[in-house]
């Protein structure tokens, strides 16, 4: 019979209450007649065949009751559902980004064995056999690949199409474990100089540039004026690293493809089978300590999982957002529970009557849980629609490295999270209602809500303040009215300095032009910069300075103040202009003027300082100004440079004038210099905006909860208040009395929020490595503001006391 008793408990509460006893009686007689084996078989098959039908019938009945109840409380239901929907929607959207970075399969085999070595000390410049020898002796790697990314001119001369590509070692696809989609991958010796003129192209390039024509295999394409034989097509969506569109195996044939900017050599390795990341890191550091990087104070060697390296800082900010949305979800659940507690408190008489008429408590609980779960699911479905919109917005701000990990809502983990959180929210709130309808739970929820809302409000105000601070930063140059155009001479046979002078001349002739100059690396450029180490009198160690090559008139064009000395002229060579912070390392402006700089390693052609300009934030708007050494570009034979033009010009005219010099030279990225600052502000603006939304939304939800709790106090104490009024109590006294009933959870919540700000700030600083956070301190404003708003809400909610008619409520007495 125990089996029958177990099964009986699983039947819907209503059916069990109605027929449980009769079924038990019948089962006992059946067991006596048919024997336990047949009985057990019958009970199990009977349960399996009929349980779903009985459950659905009862759930349908409960659902209809729930709908009728919601219809009676339309406004409060709508507020509760919408607030939970926004919370579920945003948390699902943010979870989709965390999922994409942490859990989703990357297009590599055994991805958890792949690691990124951040400082490359593999003998990549010594050739293929040296690398193979290094891997063979490695204690932690079974194989390794190297690559270098860049922007390349694609197509015949005259084409200005720039595509991203990655020069790799021949084992690139083999080590990653990604087979090509069409054709073949690289042969083992195809990265040996002389055999490297082959390439695998991306599926996107295959579709867009060649219309999906499979005959592209075996044909040549022109990249950077070099012919490469197409041997394969990568799988769809594969564009690792950095959105690459083609992969030539030229890592050991470095000079055969001309470069158009700074390039970095990256190494990815596959760990030896069974080796975990901690052991691999220990072995890596032991090896790194034998190299120059191991001795460096600033350049710490590191080995990390490729998955984490790809996600980068975006992962940390996504985790921060995820923690915030979980807090919002909690607050929204509190609101829903508050609504349900009020709702079920007003139906207490109905439930008591039903229990009196024979309904069991289990039946009532089942109805409450069904109603709450339905509310959760309803909010979840609205939330999912919201998540679709929010996800698109989030994806637009994804870092380029992680761009191929598309945000996917139709992923089982994301769907599971969305549906699971909806059901859990509903069931959790239902459980609170079933277990206790009292004020203890409500106060506990108020404390948590006020505390979390206070923390979120504080964090959002700090991030907004940081953003405003960043927007006010003076970078040391003026972007107003300055247009930029990038030009690549790589792979052409043109005389570079001559071309540069001609392009400056052409730009000067455009109508409306005030100043024209050229520079190799633009300030705040994502492409990187060059630098050199210098020995200075004030420091024992060499100082690293950014080196920028400019044409005469650069400082005038970008309005950087010349503090002393003079600008470059066309005949200058072996001279330099330095920034003030570099000059300070020499003891001041006058001390550095006329000095010959000492480069490390020593260079007999080291420049002499002829001028000092104001300091500039060259790398990042959020980072402090770095020492910069400017050199004359006209003597540097640069294969790439950017033209800066100040004035009221038409960008198309600038492009046309430059292309007219030589149509084979690609001119690209014609955009205002101001856009580079806007690009730098994009991510901080996004983070500050979303955190502000979270902060304000959580406060609104909390205020709604406090308002609802206050109204419920009034409702439940209506008769008591009437008696107090009739005994002479004033309205203001009663308002303070009601507000006082809610005061202690609010006070505790405010204090808890104030205390929690410190660890939350620490977490924020740890997670946001974007360096745009303004310095934190004790924040009195957020809790004060929160307290003020709560006080206002209490005042509003208790206004009804003035309208209370004591005779109406005491008529019965």
């Amino acid at each position: 019979m125990w089996l029958f008793e177990v099964l009986l408990r699983l039947y819907p509460a209503g059916f069990r209450a109605e027929y449980g006893d009769s079924m038990r009686l019948a089962a006992r007689e059946d067991l006596a007649e048919s024997g336990w084996l047949i009985f057990a078989w019958r009970m199990l098959t009977d349960f399996a065949m009929n349980w779903p039908n009985l459950l659905l019938t009862e759930l349908w009945q409960d659902s209809r009751d729930a709908c009728r109840n919601w219809a009676r409380h339309r406004l409060t239901t709508l507020i509760a559902v919408l607030s939970l929907a926004v919370a579920i929607g945003t948390s699902t959207a943010v979870f989709s980004s965390v999922n994409a970075m942490l859990f989703r399969d990357l297009p590599f085999a055994k991805v958890d064995e792949l690691v990124m070595l951040n400082y490359h000390f593999a003998p990549i410049f010594k050739g293929k056999s040296a690398v193979e020898d290094w891997v063979r002796k490695s204690q932690y790697l079974s194989s390794s690949l190297s690559y270098s990314t860049g922007s390349f001119q694609f197509g015949e001369p005259g084409s200005s199409l720039q595509v991203k590509g990655a020069e790799t070692t021949a084992n690139f696809f083999t080590v990653l474990g990604t087979p090509v989609w069409l054709g073949r991958g690289f042969l083992p010796d195809e990265d040996v100089p002389g055999k490297t003129d082959v390439a695998v192209i991306s599926h996107g390039l295959f579709e867009q540039a060649f219309g999906g024509d499979r005959s592209i295999l075996g044909r040549t394409v022109t990249i950077q004026h070099r012919k490469l034989l197409v041997i394969g097509v990568a799988p769809p969506t594969f564009d690792y690293p950095s959105g690459a569109s083609f992969w030539p195996p030229k890592m050991f044939d470095w000079d055969s493809l001309p470069k158009t900017g700074v390039t970095f050599q990256m190494t990815v390795g596959r760990l030896k089978p069974g080796l975990n990341i901690d052991s691999a890191q220990s072995a890596f550091w032991a090896e790194a300590s034998q190299t120059m990087y191991g001795q460096s104070a600033t350049m710490k060697p590191n080995l990390m999982l490729l998955r984490e390296a790809i996600a980068g800082t975006a992962l940390q900010s996504s985790l921060l957002l995820f923690a915030s949305v979980l807090a919002i979800l909690w607050i929204a659940c509190g609101n829903l529970a508050g609504f349900l507690l009020s709702n079920f408190a007003s139906r207490e008489r109905e439930f008591r009557t039903r229990i009196f008429l024979g309904a069991r408590r289990g039946r009532i609980w089942q109805q409450i849980l069904t109603e709450c779960t339905l509310l959760g699911l309803l909010a979840g479905s609205f939330g999912f629609a919201l998540a679709i919109v929010a996800t698109r917005w989030l994806a637009a701000y994804q870092s380029p490295e992680a761009a191929f990990m598309q945000f996917e809502l139709l992923d089982w983990r994301v769907l599971g999270f969305g549906v699971g959180s909806a059901i859990l929210c509903g069931l959790g709130c239902g459980a609170i209602v079933c277990l206790s309808g009292g004020w203890r739970w409500r106060h506990a929820m108020t404390i948590a809500q006020v505390a979390l809302a206070g923390v979120l409000l504080g964090l959002s105000s700090r991030m907004t303040e940081s953003l405003l601070h960043l927007q006010r930063v003076q970078p040391g140059f003026d972007t107003q009215g300055v247009w930029t155009a990038s030009i690549s001479l790589a792979g052409t046979d043109l005389e570079r300095t001559d071309y540069l002078k001609r392009s400056l001349e052409r730009a000067r002739q455009l109508p409306g032009v005030v100043d024209v100059t050229a520079v190799d690396y633009l300030p705040l450029s994502k492409g990187g910069f060059a630098g050199n180490s210098y020995r200075v009198p004030s420091r024992h160690e060499p100082v690293f300075a950014i080196v920028v090559d400019t044409a005469p008139g650069y400082f005038q064009t970008v309005q950087t103040k010349l503090l002393a000395g003079r600008d470059f002229n066309e005949s200058d060579a072996r001279v330099a202009i330095v920034t003030q912070d570099f000059a300070d390392l020499y003891g001041g402006v006058q001390q550095v003027l006329g000095r010959k700089l000492e480069t490390v390693p020593a260079d007999p052609d080291s420049p002499t300082v002829i001028g000092v300009v104001e300091s500039t934030r060259f790398v990042k708007l959020s980072a402090k100004a770095s020492p910069i050494v400017y050199k004359p570009i006209l003597k540097r034979d640069r294969s790439f440079f950017a033209l800066l033009v100040r004035g009221s010009i038409q960008p198309n005219d600038l492009g046309a004038a430059l292309r007219a010099i030589d149509p084979s030279v690609p001119v690209y990225d014609i955009k205002p210099l101001k856009d580079r600052i806007t690009d730098q502000l994009k991510r901080p603006t996004y983070l500050a905006a979303i955190m502000s939304f979270f902060g304000i939304f959580s406060v609104v939800l909390t205020l709604i909860q406090v308002f609802g709790a206050c109204l419920l106090q009034l409702e439940q104490r209506r008769k008591e208040l009437a008696i107090r009024i009739s005994l002479g109590a004033t309205v203001s006294l009663l308002r303070r009395f009601i507000a006082g009933k809610l005061a202690y959870p609010i006070w505790i919540g405010l204090i808890a929020g104030f205390v929690l700000r410190w660890p939350a700030d620490q977490l924020l600083e740890k997670m946001l490595t974007e360096e745009f956070l303004a310095a934190g301190g004790i924040d009195w404003v957020s809790p004060s503001l929160m307290g003020l708003m709560v006080a206002l809400v209490l005042m509003l909610a208790t206004r009804g006391i003035a309208l209370l008619d004591p005779w109406k409520h005491l008529k019965a007495e």
Binding site: S22, M23, L25, A26, A27, D30, M43, F47, M49
Partner: protein, 109 residues
């Protein structure tokens, strides 16, 4: 009163059994099993699920009449057929008869 749709085989047998007089759940089960030669042996949830549906449709009612206390168990619930129930079982039987007649024109019965 909910609309009466086609009767399930078990519901039809329940109504047939109740035509002979009031029965409790387990008695109905035994009678149906015996009548069908154990081809239809309803389990408790199937039997009481059908009884519940027939009650909602108004084809049966719970009977207040009970046997003598020494012959009875107070946990037992007795059911009686209603006039609507009799109509329903007659209609179902006529429908079956018609089906048999139609089938007889095509296959040997």
């Amino acid at each position: 009163m909910p609309e009466v749709k086609d009767l399930s085989p078990l519901a039809f047998h329940i109504l047939l059994s109740l035509l002979d007089g009031e029965r409790h759940g387990y008695a109905l089960k035994r009678e149906i099993s015996a009548r069908t030669g154990n081809k239809l042996v309803p389990g408790p949830s199937l039997l009481y699920g059908n009884l519940n549906r027939l009650l909602e449709q108004g084809l049966i009612v719970e009977s207040g009449d009970r046997p003598d206390a020494h012959l009875d168990d107070e946990r037992r619930r007795y059911y009686a057929i209603t006039p609507e129930g009799i109509d329903a079982v007659q209609a179902e039987a006529r429908k079956m008869k018609e089906l048999v007649r139609l089938a007889g024109a095509y296959v040997a019965l």
